[in-house]
Symmetry: C2
Subunit: 260 residues, 2 copies
């Protein structure tokens, strides 16, 4: 039964190894992005929707992200099913001819998104943990850095669609019963591998230590080595509390509609 519902353009590329390599590589992008955001203090004025009346009741960062997504949509960013915008309703059409991206996901994948939850988590939970208080006036650069963080997190979390698809293809019969029963708990159980999650958390923590250290030509003493640009335990917590759980929500949401 499940085999009849193969995606429209199955690709030989969709392998567990391809998905795994992409997820591992995206960890680097997320850590780089957080380190770059931490160059600036919190810069709270960028997040206050009533501070600049010229912006029509939106915060500077919202104006920036909406504008940047519009520009990137014109350049074709959201033609790639890996990319999910935060403000999908107002996007202009691409100015350029569509690239023929491989369509490996079920068409319902376009309706699976947790962007609002990522947005809320990033500004309310994560940002206070990676920035120091204060402001330096670099609101545009700050908003640009926020966008890079948001996009890296969104890509990683929504990659759950590919994770779910490859897991489903690997064992369609195991998933079909739970999908038909709309049993979220059973799906969550099928998708959860605690040992893998522990390994991911330890690896991103190590990446934060490696990429966030002050690299000098001298062998470093323990003091210098302990001054990371972003607290490695915060990066582990980001994955534990938000990235991994959000990804699993995406996986379950995708699977629940996988046989529609």
């Amino acid at each position: 039964m499940a085999q009849e519902k193969a995606p429209p353009s199955p690709s030989q590329d969709l392998t567990l190894e391809w998905v795994r390599d992409a997820l591992v590589r995206q960890e680097d992008s997320i850590v780089f992005a957080l380190i770059e955001r931490a160059r600036f203090p919190c810069n709270a004025p960028a997040y206050n929707p009533s501070l600049f009346p010229q912006l029509g009741g939106r915060s500077l960062v919202e104006v920036f992200v909406r504008g940047a997504e519009g520009l990137q949509a014109k350049c074709g960013r959201y033609q790639n099913p890996e990319e999910v915008p935060f403000f999908p309703d107002d996007l202009p059409a691409p100015l350029i001819t569509a690239y023929n991206f491989p369509q490996v996901l079920h068409p319902i994948s376009a309706s699976v998104a947790v962007s609002d939850a990522i947005w809320y988590m990033y500004f309310n939970d994560l940002l206070p943990l990676i920035t120091v208080e204060g402001e330096d006036g670099n609101y545009a650069s700050t908003a640009a850095s926020d966008l890079i963080c948001l996009q890296a997190l969104s890509r990683r979390i929504h990659f759950g669609k590919f994770v779910a698809e490859v897991k489903y293809r690997d064992a369609p019969l195991d998933y079909t019963t739970a999908i038909h029963a709309k049993d979220r708990d059973a799906l969550m159980k099928l998708l959860t591998f605690e040992a893998v999650e522990e390994m991911v958390k330890r690896r991103v923590k190590k990446k934060a230590m490696v990429f966030g250290q002050n690299v000098t030509l001298e062998d470093k003493d323990s003091d210098a080595a302990s001054q990371y640009k972003v607290d490695p335990s915060v990066v582990a917590r980001l994955y534990e509390d938000w990235v991994i759980p959000f990804t699993k929500v995406v996986e379950v949401d995708y699977l629940l509609r996988r046989l529609d």
Copy 2:
């Protein structure tokens, strides 16, 4: 004489240590940006000004950078004297109240820029060295990554204005004669410290090795360690052939007008 020409708002912050720390930190940003750009293949269609007639004879990357600079200008990016746009002529006015950035440079600094040389170098010399041939359709993401690289390089190279200012303040009499004589060679000589340049090249190469490695939880074997995401010797060459020489051009151009 030189002391009479102090900058309009001298800041206690402008110390050699502040400048040095900023330059060292910006090395990390540049290496991160190059590694992120190298995620994508060359994606040549993004650079072809005649491929998408809808773009009016501009390449996709130029359309993207112009649009992004416009958006960032509205959000106040170029109020910070550290930031220099690539397309300054068409920028919209900021939508937000100006932040009171410390004015530590001579006012002529606004007219000192080597943006065209950076643009040419980036696309013609550097990009072929850090990307593989081919295309994957991610033109918007590619252009966004190019922008991050370009901005990081521009900030680093135009930071030469601060380098020049702090060196000038440290020894105004040494510089005044050469400035009055408009002697570029003498200024270049005063500004050049080969041992420091060698150290910088070795450090950025090391950063490319540290940040561009594949971090795993296992102790790595020599094979894995040698697969860097961007060739460390290319990063050393980027500094040797372009970043350091361009920075010195900025320093000399700034100093030549420092007493205007």
